[in-house]
Subunit: 214 residues, 2 copies
Amino acid sequence: MTGTGTGPPKRDTYRHGDLRRALVEAGTDLARGGGPDAVVLREATRRAGVAPSAAYRHFADRRALLGAVCSAAQAALAVAMEGELAKVPNRGDPATRARARLRAVGTGYLRFAWAEPGLFRAAFSASEDLRDAASPARAGEGGLTPFQILAAALDGLVEAGVLPRERRPGAEFLAWSAAHGLAMLLIDGPLRGLDPVQARDVGRRLLDMVEQGL
Amino acid sequence: MTGTGTGPPKRDTYRHGDLRRALVEAGTDLARGGGPDAVVLREATRRAGVAPSAAYRHFADRRALLGAVCSAAQAALAVAMEGELAKVPNRGDPATRARARLRAVGTGYLRFAWAEPGLFRAAFSASEDLRDAASPARAGEGGLTPFQILAAALDGLVEAGVLPRERRPGAEFLAWSAAHGLAMLLIDGPLRGLDPVQARDVGRRLLDMVEQGL
DNA sequence: TGTACATCAGTGAACGCGCGTTCACTGATGTAC
DNA sequence: TGTACATCAGTGAACGCGCGTTCACTGATGTAC
């Protein structure tokens, strides 16, 4: 962290100090504003106060930078989900508590998508498959990725006897689909015009549906 | 339709004849291959065998062309959904028939997304809101848009006494979210690697969940 | 039926733009002696 | 503690690219007489 922090991109040293991190942060800001397409290598270097070619000391190409931004976005999503989970009181009977935890996971997911649409889209932009879903770079403070947080909540539902064990396998894809679809329709799609109250309502009803339907 | 049909872009006349349609078709082919970002004005004119500037006789700018492609993609989606609906037998009691029709709508949606991922993404690319969801340019052969087809299926569920009337309002957003989310995860997201059999299975289970949870 | 003319769809050359990427370089840093 | 040197992070100029868009034009078509 050289220079004047988040001020102008002027540096006092020839070396940057932590350019890789600075580029990921700049890229993340760009994604925040305009989604994955807005992650432009040259603009990231500009914001870091560095020549465009300097980026190639830390990333093989633009795709690699976007991949790092994608991981950062997933980590931010995980943090949002953890934050919602932390609000769930520890009292009450295990069944209602397990249900509340699943709802919290879904609420965190939807809230993040609503509050940070660009970042949310970036989180799902890089070509990843399920193997990447466990990468530590995508984890929140608790060390779990969004996908793992959801899985844990569903496991809790089984342990509490709410979800029959035989319906557990693959359940994350169903719950995930519902939340993801609503998120996409709300931020990018035909439901974009909804006001926050309507959005919250339809979110609640969606989570009801998942709870009933799983 | 001048020249040799779908052959090389050589024309024998100065006038094209139906350039607007040709550009939308070329743009749709581009979207089919690479989603909305692949709808490149210059490439569309190239495929139509025409100078780039000719496009401006028919579209104000690239966005307008993309909008037309988006409508065409939605119409194709509507046709796919209609096709699945047509398979539902007309016999049986009204309740199971209404349920089957909703499933058919969902199946058509998911099948289209799976078979035509680029077109599917293009269908939801243009900035539209719910008012556009009724535009005739997006309708299938039955004159209904995808959204309207879904709404009709849900109305049928109410009429058959399967869905309580008070839960009908807004139900399209819930069903739509579930299907849309799975579609996105399957074509663009972490579920991309699934083979067709797995994809079909998770699709069925998702529709089960919607049926149970609505 | 033939001719003059208005229309307007398509031409072709040019524009500025910003991008990702390369390459030979420079100079700050840390290490070996 | 001081000096020589290897390392390698960042420089700066340049590249080719394809894009969207503009503009004055040209020539096929259809209409009026």
